[in-house]
Amino acid sequence: MLSILQAEWYKLRKSKILFIIFVGPLIGLFLGLTSNLSIDVAINEWYLSLFSMNLTYALLFLPLITGILASIICRYEHQAGGWKQLLALPVTRGKVFIAKYVILMLIVLAIQLLYLGAVYVVGMIKGITDPFPLEIVWKSIFGGWVATFPLVALQLWMSILFKSFAAPFTVNVIFTLPSILAVNSERFGPYYPWAQPFSMMYIGGNTDDIFFVPWDQLLTVVGGSFVLFFLGGYLYFQRKSV
């Protein structure tokens, strides 16, 4: 398993992945520096900054980037018979699928951590003097990561299924855009998987739980859609003829 992970990372690292990893945090940086959200309530200024950055980042960028990453990790397998060469090696398809998934999740985690760095840099530049709310920022960063589990699983499935770059991307956009509406809806918001990164990263949720989202919502919506999408992709890949 370790050798498959190493091989996957080796192939991915030689594509333009590094550039993409830095796009997210840079967008965050840009959003943070250009926003001038101010309210007259005594609130930790870090929250304010995070709030303005999170909106675009968690609502649009994070879900969309999962799709792009998944496409890249499958693209070179589709291009020139990569699948048939890879799967004729002594590997099981299950392990290949898991390896690709694990690599994707680690990259999303790296992006989240860089985003955390961007939040900090914005604060420094703006000269925020309030204490850095470490716990809550972690909740938001780590929670946002957990919320991408099902999204990455679905996008990996779609990227294995479709040879083209555009098809899985379209699927992703179609599901991601409605989350702008969903987060404003009390009724649908909590149940829409693509809205979860935003909900999980949204400061001001219930801070007594581990994350900003109640446990039962996390388990049913994020956990449930993860199981569905992961198994769907896993089983599809087992049967795929190459």
Binding site: S3, Y10, K11, A80, K84, L87, A88, L89, P90
Partner: protein, 303 residues
């Protein structure tokens, strides 16, 4: 006999299309098995199934006497393969392509240089494969198939896209491998002349069915037809041979001998000379392997 590859009733259906039907393939150890058939005969489909890239509709596959369904990974550790068009990662160099495979195969790094040298790609090892010619990609594919010192090498049309000197190099390589490393090789082609120069065993497939499977010698025997004798009085000569118990035919003013061992021919000639016939010509009417191949694939019956 110990078979490295043995399939029983191997069948693949794609809806109505049946590219492989009831294929029984037997490859003895240490042989170069030429898998021959016209375009669309089902060679690549069979090879895909042998590698577990595609599941058979029905039938069984045993490689190294192990069931492919149960021990796929253990089997593939000992197999090297090249399927159809060369597979590669365009964004990587030749070296990096092999390194990505090597990490999974777990062989030492020096093996990469070794196989690059074998296929003469050492000079372009650090160039992106994207810019390679078809022949160079094909060589890279062959290098990849050799990376894990396989006991069974499966090559689907390996000389596709190679120039004449490349074809000769690969041919010599393929002939060398069984002797030097005890490898068994399955090589597919739609060109009989190519198989004829490398293979020791031949399997001919057409419309998904195996119509001939035996050693190349047996195949060559089929290509020897009859010995024809041109004699001053053919009909009488023929009768005279029959009277002495030598099998012969008479057609178009020539005598045709059915037996073609040297001894029998010498005996027939001696008999005729002793009986006072003048022998003008002794000829072997040879059908080329190509003719036999065409005849077999057209007829589609057991050769």
């Amino acid at each position: 006999m110990e078979y490295v590859v043995k399939t029983k009733g191997l069948t693949k259906n794609f809806g109505k299309e049946k590219p492989v039907t009831g294929l029984d393939m037997k490859i003895p150890k240490g042989e170069v098995y030429g898998f021959l058939g016209p375009n669309g005969a089902g060679k690549t489909t069979t090879i895909r199934m042998l590698l577990g890239l595609m599941k058979p509709t029905t039938g069984t596959i045993h490689i190294f006497q192990k069931d492919l369904r149960k021990e796929r990974v253990n089997i593939l550790k000992r197999v090297g393969s090249l399927v159809e068009n060369p597979s590669y990662y365009p964004h990587l160099t030749a070296y990096e392509n092999l390194e990505a495979l090597r990490k999974i195969l777990g062989v030492p790094k020096k093996k990469i240089y070794e196989v690059l040298e074998i296929v003469r790609l050492s000079d372009v090892a650090n160039k992106k494969v994207k810019g390679f010619s078809l022949g160079m990609k094909q060589r890279l594919g062959i290098a990849a198939s050799l990376l894990n010192n396989p006991e069974l090498l499966i090559l689907d049309e390996p000389t596709n896209g190679l120039d004449p000197s490349g074809i000769i190099e690969i041919r010599q390589l393929i002939k060398r491998l069984p002797a030097e490393y005890g490898m068994t090789i399955l090589i597919s082609s739609h060109l009989l002349s190519e198989i004829d120069q490398m293979a020791t065993t031949v399997g001919i497939v057409t419309n998904g069915k195996m119509i001939f499977q035996d050693s190349i010698e047996v195949m060559r025997m089929l290509s020897q037809q009859k010995i024809s004798l041109k004699v001053n009085n053919s009909e009488q000569a023929w009768r005279s041979l029959l009277a002495k118990g030598i099998k012969a035919d008479y057609k178009d003013d020539t005598v045709l001998l059915s037996e073609h061992s040297n001894k029998k021919i010498a005996e027939a000639v001696r008999t005729l000379v002793q009986d006072g016939f003048s022998i003008y010509r002794v000829e072997e009417e040879k059908r080329s392997l190509e003719d036999i191949f065409l005849q077999m694939t057209r007829g589609g019956k057991e050769g």
